[in-house]
Amino acid sequence: MASVSIKVNGKDVSGEVEDRTLLVEFIRENLRLTGTHVGCDTSQCGACVVHMDGKAIKSCSILAAQANGSEITTIEGLANGSELHPMQTAFKENHGLQCGFCTPGMIMAATDMVRRYKESGRELDETAIREELEGNICRCTGYHNIVKSIQDAASKM
């Protein structure tokens, strides 16, 4: 068994888990934070994206033990109380979701991409957004409104 201590959404949490436990299993089953989804078995869909030490990663492709000692932000950690994060608001206003299954991963990927582009002073245009969404699959929307949502939020973040 592995002892795992992680700061999740600003709160220190710890637990004893089997060494083979995936981070996403720890988040969903131990912490009961079920906003982070599992959409595939092949590390391709991005429904499980969370931030580890500030960077977007696929929580289905890393063990909880590998994340020991890190800081994790999940979709539950974005809003400020009842006030949605600008990216969440943008998805809502631009109809950036239909069934919503991909949405937590999309939003975590989107906030990461806006941060990276802002930090390096590059312009996050539509082409860049589409390329950056390589690791996130949506079966419903056709991506168009997701791209629009991200563009909208990027101007407000």
Binding site: D19, D41, S43, A56, I57, S61, I62, A109, R116
Partner: protein, 265 residues
């Protein structure tokens, strides 16, 4: 996933010692290949020895034209290094097109070359740049390091610590990604250094990454996309699978080589 025991190494010596104690351990770095493989139950190491927290294996050092990249440096770090981009933009561009942003935040250059997937990108850069692979036991030229499909010269308890190369006069990488997996169906790295051209091909060869001396000769005397057209790419050496047959891949290699030469300028 089968059961396993996780260990975090603090140094390469510590990692090697932990490897010696374990029954059937594997090193894990970014885990972007190994963890998915374990999830599919295609690998079942008794122990995992994590290299990701060994500081000595991280970072990019530049000394004149000599570049050294620590094995635990992520694809994202290589892609976004402005010092490296000034010297060898081709490798930054290559790293920035591996998988997707989330994979690039975890996956490492050491893990990629240790795995030697026949469709991985970095092996082409290592051969194209004439890189040296440094391990806990020795330093090997890239051409001796890559042995065949998923096969390298690495011993079980040997760790890649860094790779190093001299930045070429010009270089570029062009890949035709599989539309689903984004791995290369053909990827060609070209480099020109003091009149000597190098051409390394990944994704297409039936025995993994390889040098194409025909194209190298043609490009050494005439650095132009046209020079590549006359070179022969042997269909007999190509992979043939559901993504593309040998003839298609042989053609793709030429097209990617032309694009790479054009991009290198």
């Amino acid at each position: 996933m089968y059961e396993t025991v996780y260990h975090r190494a603090t140094s390469t010596d510590d990692a090697v010692a932990k490897m010696a104690e374990a029954e059937d351990a594997k090193f894990v770095s970014g885990g972007m290949t190994l963890i998915p493989t374990m999830k599919q139950r295609l690998a079942a190491p008794s122990d995992l020895i994590d290299l990701r927290h060994i500081d000595a294996m991280k970072g990019i050092a530049i000394d004149g034209k000599k570049v050294t990249i620590g094995a635990a440096t992520t694809h994202a770090e290589v892609a976004s290094s402005s010092e490296l981009a000034d010297l060898c933009p081709a490798i930054c561009n290559l790293a920035g097109h591996i998988g997707d942003p989330h994979v690039r935040h975890m996956g490492t250059i050491g893990g990629s070359i240790a795995n030697n997937d026949p469709a991985a990108d970095y092996p082409a850069a290592m051969i194209g740049l004439g890189a040296e692979i440094m391990t806990t036991k020795r330093t090997l030229p890239a051409e001796d390091f890559f042995v065949g499909m998923f096969e390298t010269a690495l011993e079980d308890d040997e760790i890649i610590t860094a790779v190093s190369f001299t930045a070429p006069d010009k270089a570029a990488y062009s890949k035709f990604p599989n539309p689903a997996s984004r791995y290369a169906m053909a990827g060609v790295f070209v480099a020109m250094n003091g009149g000597d051209a190098r051409v390394a091909v990944t994704g297409a060869g039936s025995d993994g990454v390889f040098r194409h001396t025909g194209m190298e000769d043609a490009l050494s005397s005439n650095w132009s996309a046209d020079a590549v057209s006359d070179a022969e790419v042997d269909e007999g050496d190509m992979l043939s699978d559901l993504h593309g047959d040998a003839r298609y891949r042989a053609n793709l290699v030429k097209v990617m080589a032309k694009r790479a030469v054009a991009a290198a300028g």
